[in-house]
């Protein structure tokens, strides 16, 4: 399968709301290996600058991929002008997509479908988890956490993504019980040790590194940064590893080995 990213105009197939501010965007997939969990694409549904704003494309993880039907899903939370413009798309319209970009879990764990996992998602960090869950043949449990006042996702949609999951929200007003997503994860790790795959806000991802060390389990994290190019040239996404070397999250990530990333150096 081809690995080089392309810039394509892709038809929109569907746009389905999955929460008050959260929608699933389905497009016809351009050629590329979209099944590697954690890989991303840059999307643009507005004109070229200076008239077309925002200036830059916006990056999103692949949510689900159905290679047979060549359907590619994104799960997008509306937060600003770019995501607002994407939310206006209708079937039949096209958007510009650049990708596939970066490396998913496959490079770090080639036999990931056979790996028993704890999946940890903070908010829209849920997006890439579905691409992984769709391919898993081993036991998996999803821990999904929402911030205070977030109430992001429709209950039924979440339940349809993962056979086994625990939902938790900081204020107990969202979906599920009240608390931090790390609490049920720790309880599960005390029962059975499994590798962790996480995507979410930096605080969550940072907090999971000592957890993985304590329980001596592998830890893979999909890490966000402001991506100005997504193509490896601008170094806006550069991060340090514990050995002092540096990686570009848009090329060598966004999925990284959470035990070698230097979480103390943003």
């Amino acid at each position: 399968m081809t690995d080089a990213p392309t810039i394509t105009q892709a038809p929109v197939l569907a746009l389905t709301w999955r929460g008050q501010n959260l929608f699933q965007l389905t497009i016809l997939a351009p050629p590329g290996d979209w099944g590697d969990p954690g890989r991303l694409a840059k999307l643009r549904a507005w004109g070229q600058p200076p008239a077309g704003q925002p200036l830059l494309d916006r990056p999103f993880s692949v949510h689900r991929y159905r290679p047979g039907a060549r359907e590619l899903d994104f799960l997008i939370r509306v937060v600003g002008p770019g995501t607002q413009a994407l939310a206006q798309l209708r079937p039949g319209q096209t958007l510009q997509i650049t990708g596939p970009l970066g490396q998913g879990l496959r490079r770090l764990q080639p036999d990931f479908p056979q790996t028993p996992l704890y999946l940890v998602a903070g908010g829209v960090g849920l997006a890439p988890q579905a691409n992984l869950l769709d391919q898993l043949q081993a036991p998996a449990h999803l821990f999904y956490g929402e911030r205070r006042g977030q109430a992001l996702i429709d209950h039924d949609y979440l339940a349809g993504l993962a056979p086994n999951f625990t939902a938790i929200s900081e204020d107990g007003l969202g979906y599920g019980q009240k608390g931090q997503v790390t609490e049920p994860l720790l309880a599960a790790l005390n029962q059975e040790r499994r590798a962790i795959f996480a995507c979410g806000p930096p605080g969550l991802l940072t907090a999971l590194a000592p957890v993985a060390r304590t329980y001596k389990v592998p830890y893979w994290a999909s890490v966000e940064a402001f991506l100005a190019c997504g193509l490896g040239v601008c170094l806006s996404c550069s991060r340090a590893l514990t050995d002092g070397s540096r990686i570009r999250l848009c090329q060598d990530g966004p999925v990284v080995d959470g035990l070698t990333l230097d979480w103390g150096k943003p």
Binding site: Q53, L55, F226, C229, G232, V233, S236, S238
Partner: protein, 314 residues
């Protein structure tokens, strides 16, 4: 027989001893080490490509976040992360030169001696020219940038021109100085083969809700569409002040923007932020520039250079 075909405009651009295919140059910092975007924009199709700023030793760059969008432009504080000159010459440059691209090395340092040593090293390399980034903090002067003092900028230029031997040395000016024309004159007299401008505009982006600066480095540099009028004005003032060729940049997104810089007095132009928006943009601009010149019946860009008229002049 009368040739009915419209004449294709000649885009060949002479910059001192260098002859470029066309006046479009990929600017430093947005084209990596020249080959990363080759699938989208083959470097040999451009007038030249300028590599990421190169220092004597590798630099780690700034803590993140390193970039953010603001006011329709981009504010970045990458912090000049780079692999250092040794790795640049060993790994990055040979495959890039093999494409026949014209290659400039953007040179950065913390003191005059760094620039002199880099010039000496690059003199014996296959790079086609040097571009001194004089916006770096000068450690000997408490971090004030070299470009903020015209005499210091001239000394820096001199320090690099001699050791660079036959390689043309361009000097890249920062936008915010008291007297840009004086700065241009000083570096021209010190031996600059070309003057490129502008570098990014110092900027600060604040998040009111969190009451924090958005960038890890607090401040950064603004680029893209919002800086074009400032860049055109500084280009114009420098072109009036010196005979040395000017390479203009700042907010170029379209062919018309290139024409505007040429009218202001530039001989060639550089493209930075537009490449981050779309890596194919230099080639799009090149095609559109040909179309524009043909439509406007302009046979060579040189005929437009510095041809700016006042609003009420005939």
């Amino acid at each position: 027989m009368i040739d009915s075909k419209p004449q294709t405009p000649d885009l060949t651009t002479r910059l001192g001893s260098l002859t470029l295919k066309n006046p479009l140059i990929a600017a430093s910092g947005v084209f990596g080490y020249g080959l990363e975007l080759a699938e989208f924009c083959p470097p040999a199709q451009l007038g030249a490509v300028i590599c990421k700023g190169i220092s004597l030793e590798p630099w780690p760059g700034n803590p993140g976040p390193r970039a953010v969008e603001a006011a329709g432009g981009l504010v970045n504080a990458i912090g000049l992360e780079n692999m250092g000159v040794e790795a640049f010459l060993r790994q990055a440059l040979p495959p890039l030169k093999a494409t026949q691209a014209v290659v400039g090395a953007n040179v950065i340092g913390h003191e005059l001696a760094d620039y002199a040593r880099l010039a000496r090293i690059l003199a014996d390399s296959p790079v086609d020219f040097l571009e001194l980034n004089i916006s770096c903090p000068n450690l000997a002067q408490g971090g004030l940038s070299f470009g903020s003092d015209p005499d210091l900028a001239a000394r820096l230029t001199e320090a690099a021109v001699n050791p660079a031997g036959p390689k043309p040395v361009w000097v890249k000016l920062p936008p915010l100085v008291t007297d840009i024309a004086l700065l241009a004159k000083k570096v021209a007299n010190a031996g600059a083969a070309a003057i490129s401008l502008i570098n990014t505009v110092p900027a600060l982006v604040i998040n009111a809700r969190t009451q924090r600066a958005v960038l890890g480095n607090l401040t950064g540099g603004l680029s893209g569409p919002p800086i074009k009028p400032l860049a055109l004005r500084q280009t114009f003032l420098c072109a009036q002040a010196v005979k040395t060729p000017i390479v203009g940049m700042g907010g170029i997104l379209r062919a018309e923007d290139v024409v505007e810089f040429i009218l202001a007095g530039a001989t060639a132009t550089q493209i930075a932020t537009a490449i981050l928006v779309d890596p194919r943009s230099p080639l799009t601009i090149l095609t559109d520039l040909r179309t524009w010149l043909t439509r406007e019946k302009v046979v060579s860009l040189a005929s437009l250079r510095g041809a700016l008229k006042g609003a009420n002049n005939p």
